[in-house]
Symmetry: C2
């Protein structure tokens, strides 16, 4: 019997043997029963592909209320065995590259193949801008109306790690709700691209011809992560420049060692506006899926990602517990002053702080 069930039972017993004087106790039991009922109903409904149940569950995942999070954990656990059966695609590109239009066209193409697509986002700035990406669903008019598509703006949170956790859990819920393709969009803010890369099977980098940010992509390590570089807006007068850019990007990709998946990153042209080159991209994603399924890199990578998130979560918590301890906070500033005054070294100070923890 789970801890929770046990404690609910104990509470029930305690009340049944005593005189009931407190109406709140009854309410509390009723609430717990209701929550349990809700949780089970939500799981069943999600597995039946009920979108409003999915939305409610994601809201619980995104909540800061501990009770909601407990419920969310139960729902995730119930969904887990039905998850993991999708292709997870990360999409990034600078503002202006046409991400919304691309996702609209790409998503619609995928649903036209009879598949169901969920679009999520990771936007570490969303707590400030209240969801700058995917917040404006009007930019994805037809996808919003598509019954085989589900669009959810970025969770907000004080840390990228927190937002990432919520998105990872939302992926599980979407997969349990039968979505075949999960798209995770991000903008190039801080570490957000690395975060998205660490939770997807395939990473698509959208580029523009002649934007002159090739070196930036190299510098920030984004290009190294790409499985496809798709040069968008490759239409009309732009086509010639796009073809030149294609050659340049292919050259730049040679900088990197071969991927352990044996996949050779591709550079392709597309025009999301004119619905050109979208099928090519999807077919390349399927090629990648087939290759990595055959050589077992697909599962290996997902296991590595799981391990990465496990370790990251633990490390962040260890650091946060240590440095947020009032005792350490106080002593840390003292030690920093001693270092500044040449009375101690950073290493001796570290040894001291660890010894008093």
């Amino acid at each position: 019997m789970s801890k929770k069930n046990k404690s609910a039972l104990e509470e029930k017993k305690r009340i049944s043997v005593s005189e009931i004087t407190n109406i709140n106790s009854i309410k509390s039991i009723q609430n717990k029963r209701k929550a349990k009922l809700d949780t089970n109903t939500l799981i069943t409904s999600i597995l039946k592909r009920d979108i409003s149940a999915l939305s409610r569950a994601i809201t619980l995942v995104e909540s800061t209320n501990p009770k909601h999070l407990e419920q969310a954990n139960t729902i995730i656990k119930g969904c887990l065995t039905f998850a993991n059966k999708s292709i997870r695609i990360g999409i990034t590109g600078v503002p202006g590259v046409g991400k919304s239009t691309f996702i609209e066209t790409f998503g619609t193409y995928i649903t036209s193949l009879g598949k169901r697509v969920a679009v999520l986002a990771i936007d570490p700035s969303s707590s400030i801008t209240k969801g700058s990406i995917l917040g404006d669903k009007t930019r994805m008019e037809s996808l919003v109306k598509d019954e085989n598509a589900f669009i959810r703006p970025s969770a907000s949170g004080s840390s990228l790690g927190g937002v990432a956790r919520k998105t990872r859990e939302t992926i599980i819920l979407c997969e349990a709700a039968g979505f075949d393709v999960i798209i995770i969009e991000t903008v190039g803010v801080g570490q957000s691209e690395t975060t998205v890369h660490s939770m997807v099977d395939f990473f698509l980098l959208l580029k523009l011809a002649g934007a002159g940010d090739e070196l930036q992509g190299i510098k920030r390590g984004i290009m190294e992560m790409a499985d496809i570089i798709a040069i968008n807006k490759a239409d009309g007068d732009n086509l010639k420049r796009a073809k030149l850019a294609q050659v340049e990007f292919k050259r730049a990709l040679h900088l990197y060692p071969e991927k352990s998946s044996n996949w050779h990153p591709k550079v392709t042209l597309c025009s999301a506006l004119n619905n050109e080159g979208i099928d090519t991209i999807w077919n390349l994603i399927l090629d990648h899926f087939n290759l990595t399924s055959e050589n077992n890199h697909f599962n290996k990578k997902r296991n590595e990602q799981n391990k990465y998130w496990l370790i990251q979560t633990i490390e962040n918590q260890l650091k946060s517990d240590f440095f947020n301890s009032p005792k350490i906070k106080k002593e840390l500033s003292k030690q920093l002053q001693l270092i500044e005054d040449n009375q101690t070294t950073p290493f001796a100070a570290a040894d001291y702080l660890l010894s008093i923890n």
Copy 2:
């Protein structure tokens, strides 16, 4: 009274009131007295610029024997107030760029100005290769004989963090021994350049013309750290190519935002073999020193570096304590299996492991 002195005193008392039957006790007291004497003598000798005392102290820093490390900590503490009065210069460059010849010429130039120079190295591969850089002092023939120069090969260690700590502590000892300039050499192995950058005031990147590794420098974030890019072997037939490379590197440097020190990184030519351009480099280092001393960036950066090392040391220790605990090791592999079997999520597993710690 320090803990150590106190315990020595207590041991003395205990033995003086009891019958002395054990010759080992006497030996132990003698050893402790000797160590204390040694420690004080070493500090005094280091401050008197005694090179063999400096070498002995560094050997204690590099030891894995806890007793030696305790002695080393006492010596470092005794030296601290006399340290911090040097310019610390990091030098990196790929094998073949002429680092040894450059350091030989550059070091000799500095001593010719009446200054004293210490050359250290950080080579994370040294535990395997038994000191691949600076190990072969014959490549610095005249600097080795120079009485105002001190050359010490890289400490070895199982981790870059361990090697870094030893080098940082060695810097303090060298400064206390009156060295005005500390050069820290590294090769581009893993994170070694970032490590060196985080312990120096000035970072010099040696390059060759036409080596075609400009993009690699951008990719690995090395160029971003450089205060000077010096194109070596800019002599004879190579001069023209070196001048072209200079233009290219200047352009690449424009990729990066302005440094908080207000220093604009320079690209300069030199020939260490012909002793050309070495004075220019030294004068640029002095310009940098004057600028950052005036705008107080020099001290600010050293404080930030100290804080960085303090935090790094603590974080590494927290992680190592956690993941090396036998209980966690055992449960971690169980949790990883549960994740693989879709029975739990990385986040739930992390919460569980943290709860049993």
